[in-house]
């Protein structure tokens, strides 16, 4: 009897951690984001899956992928101080087929923002990816969700895309000057759907931590037909991270030190 109970407890001890691990959804991709060699937070991709007409939010005849995750800002103590005017956003570019807008080309990178009328004009007048511009999907700083999709059938038998997503920080322009956007880190994701003998087949080409196409994303920004929303209003940099410039930080530190040092005798004199 005692031996049986012991055996039961042993099995339970082995199985319990397994159940805990299986019960938790593991991120598809998770990596630290650094700025000047110090960690400022983490990007996680929690969902990466084919999107079909029967997926939640799906639509008849439309196929693609769903990718969801986010950024959590949690700077290490040695990380540089963030400019108080700065905010975090996503920007995104892609290359592939089929094209959606009149100005696109299958062999050129496009800047990923929804267009209005005319279809060269970014609908909301912002360079930043709209989903999201704040916390969400379980992430405290910046959620991310995309479900690009297209018709897949005998007339349109291939959907294939490579996306570059970048976490950026942005400081708005003041007094008529351009704002600045710094690409900090990013990930690429790629997929293909093929209509083969009346059957849709999905090819998962993966999601990975990568800045390999930051240059292509930069070029898409610079060559976009809506220059008033993009390059005429913002400077885009492929590095940097909106830290307070060192001299200011040093001066602020010195000022604080001065206030403490000079304030003490003054307080003593006033007290006397």
């Amino acid at each position: 009897m005692f031996a049986r109970t012991l055996r039961f407890l042993a099995v339970l001890l082995v199985l319990m951690p397994c159940a805990v691990v299986l019960g938790q959804a593991q991120p598809v991709l998770k990596f630290d984001v650094t700025c000047d060699d110090a960690k400022i937070g983490t990007i996680s991709i929690d969902v990466w899956e084919p999107h079909t007409p029967t997926s939640p939010g799906g639509a008849a005849g439309l196929y693609g992928v769903k990718i969801q995750g986010g950024f959590d800002y949690a700077p290490d103590p040695d990380a540089c101080p963030l400019d108080p005017r700065a905010s975090f956003y996503w920007i995104q570019g892609y290359i592939g087929q089929p094209t959606l807008y009149s100005w696109e080309s299958v062999d050129k990178w496009s800047y990923d923002r929804s267009r209005g009328t005319p279809d060269t004009k970014i609908a909301d007048g912002s360079p930043f990816y709209v989903n999201l511009r704040g916390p969400g999907y379980g992430h405290s700083t910046l959620g991310f969700l995309d479900a690009p999709r297209d018709e897949l059938n005998a007339d349109s038998p291939i959907i294939e895309f490579l996306f570059q997503t970048a976490l950026v920080c942005a400081i708005p322009g003041e007094g008529g000057n351009k704002g600045s956007i710094h690409m900090i880190d990013g990930f690429t994701w790629e997929f293909r759907w093929v209509w083969e003998a009346g059957t849709p087949t999905f090819y998962d080409l993966g999601v990975q931590h990568s800045k390999a196409h930051f240059g292509d994303l930069f070029n898409a920004f610079m060559n976009d037909p809506d220059s008033d929303t993009l390059k005429n209003a913002w400077n885009l940099y492929q590095d940097g991270c909106c830290c307070i410039p060192l001299p200011s930080a040093v001066w602020m530190g010195l000022a604080l030190l001065g206030a403490v040092v000079c304030g003490a005798p003054l307080r003593r004199r006033l007290a006397a």
Binding site: P56, L100, D112, A123, D124, G125, A147
Partner: protein, 156 residues
């Protein structure tokens, strides 16, 4: 004879009243609304989710396919006005690439597909006529701007 006739009449009356009462029961009222683009897309614009009570929010998010920053409470009366507007346009030809408007009742969902122009009219109803609360106004305005259905706002 007389008591039997009275009983029969009473039974008939009860039956008639019962039938009338059944006829008078209004159809279930929608308790949430979702509006989203339902065609090919690159960037995925968050859906608009309007709901009347916390208990129905999960059902609305399930219909929309995700949660959304553009989620807000509205009143029963406002949702009924939207339903009345929807019923006027429900019999129009349904465009292929369109906005998908879903009105959710307790047990079923009524889906209407709206052309870009019609979606613009619905947003005008929401923003200009229904006197929505501040959160709902903001959610509708953001959705409208993101889809280029409104232009009279500052860039975000």
């Amino acid at each position: 004879m007389f008591p039997a006739a009275v009983a029969c009449a009473a039974m008939l009356m009860a039956l008639t009243t019962g039938c009338m009462a059944a006829d008078d029961i209004p159809p279930p009222l929608p308790v949430w609304l979702t509006l989203r683009w339902d065609g090919p897309q690159r960037e995925t614009v968050p859906p608009l989710i309007l709901y009347v009570s916390d208990e129905v929010l999960k059902a609305a998010e399930k219909d929309a396919g995700s949660s959304s920053p553009w989620t807000a409470r509205i009143t029963d009366a406002q949702l009924q006005s939207i339903r009345a507007w929807t019923e006027k346009h429900a019999k129009e030809p349904q465009p292929a690439a369109a906005f998908r408007l879903a009105l959710g009742e307790q047990r079923q969902v009524a889906v209407t597909r709206l052309s870009r122009a019609r979606a613009g009219e619905l947003l005008a109803l929401l923003l200009d006529e229904l006197k929505l609360g501040e959160d709902a106004q903001r959610a509708c305005r953001r959705f409208a701007i993101a889809h280029g259905l409104r232009r009279d706002e500052k860039p975000m």
